[in-house]
Amino acid sequence: MNVADFSFTRHPLENMLVLSAIIFCAGLYTVMTRKNAVSILMGVELILNAANINFVAFSQYLPSAGIHGGVFSVFVILLAAAEAAVALAIIIGIYQNFGRADVDVADLMKE
């Protein structure tokens, strides 16, 4: 087995998929372990970026996939912008009401 067999130029799709899997797992860990809402939002951004890498990689490296992955990656970026704007407005609202931006303080609907 040769190191060159794992190189980017021989297997570009697999390299991109593994990279996106690692970034996805980092984002998943962030979402699972953080209590601060802004940190959780950062984890969500990591997950979205990992998904986006997959979209573009399949679109560019599989000829049968066509252009659709590229289009969806642009849509994902735009939706992430909208999501971040709304989420941050909510986070600031929580901070103004509770004095902290932790996700466990806003549990009024639980009762």
Partner: protein
């Protein structure tokens, strides 16, 4: 592995490892400001990955919207909701080791799927040109040669409509059935470039200088041989391949040399033009819906974040 390829690998792994380290820093850093700046590194690393995938428009969108918009918004939120000295963000109730274990399990499962799955790398059928097309007007012979046009990395075919997204392509000659081994046959490849704004029809296809005529020996019988054309400028190209030299049935069947009229293909400068066409045709409705959604998000965010005004 050539110098160009080696350099590409080294630069790719530098950016990839940078992105991975930064994303782990986002996950593990206890200082939220540090997390936010590590996120900056991840976003730039991911933009570099898009550049490696030749998705130039997505690179621009990533840097402008993610780095210029979302990240600045996140840093604003951090500044507005925290004192700089307040760095304790980790969740005391979080099951740290359990989370690490679960995440590693997910990563392992994903890597197993990536390693074992075989992806459909076949090109759409019309982009393949084979010698069988030609065999119709000549005497039957035992030679069978497929000529396939591939994208530069050698793994992918040419997209529908003969569209190539990389600046280099590979012409793959695949001899599936050889003539007699004594026969010495050679392939001559001619690639020509379309000159736009040329009124004279005959002068419209000009021989493309860097690879004007390449001779490929096929004397070894069965096998595959790749011919790499590099540094193609964006534009329209077509190629013809013909047998030259050699004696007997293969070189001259029916008194004229065998020639394959290759497919015409376009070398795209990047993803920008195809994306623009797709957004304005097939994806027009989703595009408009997203613009409405962005407007709604803007109004909603402003409404939520505004200060309450008590009515008197």
């Amino acid at each position: 592995m050539g110098t160009e390829e080696l350099l590409l690998n080294v630069v790719f792994y530098l950016f990839a490892i940078g992105a991975v380290v930064a994303s782990i820093a986002v996950a593990l850093s206890t200082n939220i400001i540090r997390s936010a700046f590590a996120l900056l590194g991840v976003l730039f690393g991911v933009a570099a990955m898009y550049a490696f995938m030749r998705a130039d428009f997505v690179v621009a969108a990533q840097i402008i919207i993610y780095v210029g918009g979302i990240l600045v918004l996140i840093i604003f939120a951090v500044m507005l909701t925290h004192k700089i000295t307040d760095v304790n963000v980790s969740n005391e109730s979080a099951p740290g080791p359990a989370a690490v274990f679960a995440v590693l399990c997910v990563l392992f499962a994903l890597c197993v799927i990536i390693a074992t799955r075989t992806w459909d790398r076949s090109a759409p059928a019309e982009s393949l040109t084979s010698m069988e097309k030609l065999a119709g007007d000549t005497k039957p012979t035992t030679a069978m040669v497929n000529v396939t046009l591939l994208q530069g990395d050698g793994t992918t075919g040419v997209l529908k409509g003969g569209e190539v997204r990389s600046p280099f392509v590979v012409l793959r000659y695949e001899v599936t059935q050889a003539p007699s081994t004594a026969e010495a046959a050679h392939f001559a490849l001619e690639c020509s470039e379309r000159i736009e704004n040329q009124p004279d029809e005959k002068k419209r296809w000009a021989p493309w200088s860097p690879v004007k005529e390449t001779t490929v020996g096929l004397t070894n019988g069965l096998g595959t041989r790749d011919e790499r054309l590099s540094n193609l400028k964006p534009g329209r190209y077509r190629w013809t391949a013909s047998f030259v030299g050699g004696q007997g049935t293969l070189a001259l069947a029916g008194g004229k040399p065998w020639t394959i009229e290759g497919t015409t293909f376009t070398v795209e400068a990047g993803l920008t033009r195809p994306l623009g066409v797709a957004l304005m045709s097939r994806y027009l409705l989703p595009f408009e819906l997203i613009s409405v959604l962005l407007l709604a998000a803007l109004v909603g965010a402003a409404y939520i974040a505004r200060k309450e005004v008590k009515e008197l």
